[in-house]
Symmetry: D2
Subunit: 379 residues, 4 copies
């Protein structure tokens, strides 16, 4: 490692709207408690696409401190350690260990942090790949880079040797699917999500596809994938979708879902469309007493007309906003990958791998309909 000390580190930065650049940063010194990760793979997520297109406002209204190094779906190996550093479960890390890093670093001092609320309730949290600027040393706070500098207190999850390293980019997206675990927690006699239920995934891009897999893993009867892209539906089918519906009008989709469910409607709809109208369509698709999980609308794209009587009360709807994932879901997501590595073709959902030098092409590909997950492979 010592030979790296004088070398530089390459990273992709977001400079402004639709402006990516390859930059070089100095190889950092490691403070006590910090970890330097050699990045294996780091994915392009919907949030990254939003930021690329100019939506650089975060929760609470603050602007993302450009330039940043994006990338928060990241897996790599420990390159250097600032003394003894523990993994999330309290076991000391060693150089060479494979780890997935949780992108979120809650402050640990506020009401939310002191009361075990999920990280996304913390108003002072720092997010790798998102709200820690690349301007100040040690700069390396995102995954689209050769190295990531993990600040003291970061949550590092041990990633097994028995899994392909690239599958590690699914860990963070899989934690989002903890909303389906919550839905199971809230099930009872006739409340969804029950074993055998029909779960509709509206939009099966990278975030939809992991919900397809998770719905299948948690005992859904039917998993219905809906998308405008035939390619994405074909991947969804391999990930566990029992039925696929190719876009069309809202009415068409509704009719097909009713046919599949004996006229009753879906028990659960996960809205992964990323557009405001997706929420209303989801409410139309559920059965009376059904549940909508709003997962996808991660930026403010305005309002839609909701009828409180018809959409909510008369329908006894359950509507849940999923503002983030949970640290407790990282380990279980890794175990999901282990348990399904032979039955779900995870590799087929990583449709493209790019070098850091190919950032523009990578983003262009990720924005198109013929890709699923697009990742950087800096190593």
């Amino acid at each position: 490692m010592g030979s790296n000390k004088n070398s530089s580190v390459k990273a992709v930065t977001l400079q402004g709207t639709r402006a990516l650049a390859l930059q070089e940063f100095p190889y950092p010194d490691i403070e006590a408690g910090a970890v330097l990760l050699r990045i294996g793979f780091s994915g392009i997520c919907g949030t990254d696409k939003h930021a690329f297109k100019g939506r650089t406002e975060q929760k609470g209204g603050q602007a993302i401190p450009l330039p940043i190094i994006p990338g928060h779906e990241t897996v790599g190996t420990v390159a250097e350690l600032g003394g003894e550093v523990l993994d999330h479960n309290g076991v000391p890390l060693n150089v060479g260990d494979r780890v997935v890093i949780a992108p979120n670093l809650p402050c640990g001092r506020c009401y939310a942090c002191r009361n075990n609320l999920p990280y996304y309730y913390c108003r002072e949290k720092r997010d790798y790949g998102n709200n820690i600027g690349a301007g100040d040393p040690p700069h390396l706070f995102g995954g689209w880079s050769e190295y990531l500098y993990a600040l003291p207190g970061s949550h590092l999850f041990r990633y097994p040797e028995t899994l392909p390293l690239e599958y590690g980019t699914f860990v963070e997206p899989l934690t989002v699917t903890a909303c389906l675990d919550k839905a199971r927690q809230w099930s009872s006699e006739w409340e969804p999500f029950r074993t055998g239920d029909t779960v509709v995934i509206l939009g099966v891009g990278p975030i939809g596809i992991v919900h397809v897999a998770k719905a299948r893993i948690l005992g859904a009867g039917r998993v219905v994938a809906v998308d405008l892209s035939a390619f994405r539906l074909s991947v969804a089918a391999k990930f566990g979708a029992s039925d696929t519906i190719l876009g069309g009008s809202v009415g068409d989709v509704q009719q097909q879902v009713e046919q599949l469910t004996g006229g009753r409607g879906a028990d659960v709809v996960v809205d992964c469309t990323g557009v405001p109208e997706g929420l209303i369509q989801s409410l139309e698709l559920i059965r009376e007493g059904g549940m909508v999980l709003e997962v996808g609308i991660f930026s403010d794209d305005g309002t839609v007309p909701l009828n409180p009587h018809r959409h909510i009360l008369e329908k006894s709807a359950r509507l849940i906003g999923v503002g983030g994932d949970e640290l407790s879901a990282y380990d279980s997501s890794i175990r999901i990958l282990e348990a399904t590595k032979d039955t779900i073709p995870w590799h087929e959902a990583i449709t493209h791998k790019f070098a850091l030098e190919e950032a523009d092409q990578a983003m262009e590909t990720a924005l198109g309909p013929e890709s699923m997950k697009v990742v950087f492979a800096p190593a």
Copy 2:
């Protein structure tokens, strides 16, 4: 009883928009399994007011079969029995027994009924005081009457001698508050409704007031009542509201709720306003991760603009539509009345009692801001 056979029965009927009439019907013969109830008290509910004002469309779009005898918050005594008839818990009824009758009679044959779903998922259900017309014999299918004819299979709940009979009109409204029990069921580490939480009741008319009582009974820390009527707020305070907020603008209410909660917002908001805007206001009032129970918007009054990102996802909102109550909540509602008869002044919420002959005046009073629950006292 025999002397009644040739007599007639007085009842109030709804003939059309804003048209109530006192009618006489023949004293009925009792078929096997049926029960004739001598009505003690029967309340005027929000649904009755809606129907009076011309909103006579039911769920699913069918029209209420006018004329009907309204009244579904009903308590009385058994006047005649069609042979052995069991109460809801399987114990034979006797003439003279006090009972509350559940207004809803699910079909027992459909998917919902066969799978233990609450009655309001049954598409063939008959509702006393609502969708069984007064035109056909034995006519007496509502509570605003001297007698109610309970069809075979009706759910009759034994009402204790130790309680004032008039309190029985609170049993059905109290069953609606089972939504707060569900909120407790869905609580966990940081999910509401937890002991000590702040619960806001938006609108404290007759349906709001029972939610004030129930929130207090279930261990809320603060119960905040919001209304435009100072009179209603004064009753709410006696029912367990720790804080009251007199209407004003949305912003004012929000500011006061934030002050009461250290800037965090309400853990739970129960929307009992009965207007579509109440839902949006409720979503504004909850804390991140808070829950909205939509109880009040029982008729279709159009849409409101909802921002899926800001109101639902970013806020990690939980929004539950309460399409009805549950039969399993009747007995527990009666037990609530027993347990609180000395600590909650239930009688103060029955602000007016009327004879059947005073139907117009009763309705006018119920529609005004200076009344809480208005009941008919036919006996």
Copy 3:
């Protein structure tokens, strides 16, 4: 069908301890609302083995009214209908329809039945294959027969043409696994049963094996099968067990489970051993805060020494007795079979099929360690 009217019906009866007999009964007349089922397959269950060995006391202490026709895991086709009869979901049945019959017929009048409690809380329930004697006409109240007479009000579940008929014998055992759904319902931040958890199935005979499958279906990380029979463990592995432990001492098993779980212990243990000691062993195997589902000890085999401090309080144990299954689980069990027919080799768990004439041999086989599910195939 008319030709059957004068013919007789063959059935296996249990006459007393270890005494089975092949008997002939008259082909019955069908009353209104009843259904005559042509039996396709009917399994031998642990309860049947207990009764065969002389344990003929039911819950509440009453004796089984010998002779009976055993058999309650039954699938067949509709042979005759007493007029219009609805399936469980309210759809009229036709002759020739495939159905699974729930063996339990709750009274519908008692407190439990009136309040939606599961059938096994009903004290007046009648159970096909168990507590309805064969002495009185129409006699045919069990599955080990050419025909079963389904009384009016029986719960008949439509069984799809797309599944092998014999899989229908798994439907009733699969409903027992609804306890794992309940465990998921009770999960939260750190309460089992969470995705990725380690679930130990103690004893993988016919009832254990369906819990192996269900634990896998519901998102367990590891499913650990423990048994004294290498054969049964080999089937368990095909049903989704990630690890198998061949019996040995309690200490051995505990050591292996701790090794598999990083020293923490199992999150969930399902006790399917059928012996009282299984419960204590289960409590030893769980982690702090783990859950034990007691499924197997269906007859009174005495007491075991429990240490309330060490086994329950200090360990923060959650211990759940599973007294029966739920009607709401039948349909979802059928949907599980549909969703897994290509991934779980259900047919390999039906190790033996016998004619009614081979009852002694069938029972002997079922009692041995080299069988899994043994079924009668009367058709």
Copy 4:
């Protein structure tokens, strides 16, 4: 404060079996992040009595490091601060602030701590008043003292000026009652703990009495207190018990509970007896499908004969071991005190207050049947 620097601090120490002593320790220097509390009141708890009687083994088998300063139900005021120190909710503390201190200090590094498990799953936790010896400086690690030295990272909860200071000794015991919140979380259609349910508290000493109050606060229909002491039952009645049963034989108690519940048995039993037999009695008292919360058996007093079939499976029992309380329950416990200060006579349950000089008399009183909570009042 400076004047204290050379003075000494008085504290009660436990030296060995039945050996208490008044000792003097030096007034400590305050390290950064630490807090010195001036003790207002500190209670004598069942655990303290056990240790006094010689049971000085902790969870995991390690011995309590005698001598210790007992006392973990402690309320006081901030006397000195080691720089900026935050309360549990992230707000800086000031000298003079009233606070309740959580006795438990989890390590923050182990699997349990990193995964948000309650403190009692941490194997390295330090407990004020219990497992931090008084031998090493700064010595003051228990509540029976003029001052308590709160180590950096301690959980300090702001206690309101509007409550009598002595009520603060109920906060820690009230957190134990979070098991009843969990029971509500696990309720559903027919699972306890539902509104209107019958809750039996077996043993109404100091820990039983707070469960009486909590069961009432959470919407129980009947709260039945059972004890051998008429005095304790009289306090229980004031705390919300609707019915009291004076000890007697197990059969007597069972008969009375059945009478109160229409022959069905209790929905929930909280075992606060502190003897192993209490668990079996609790299992006898619940209805089918009822729940037992094992709260009281905090030391290993051996085994009791449990019948897995009859007590657990056939009864569909739910049995929960309550190994500790939760940090998230402290604030809600304080809010419970605020919400009930006018309706529950908390002061009547603090039957005796003693000076530190009266330790032997205090303990003797606490061990007798005519006391409820006994507290030291060092200030």
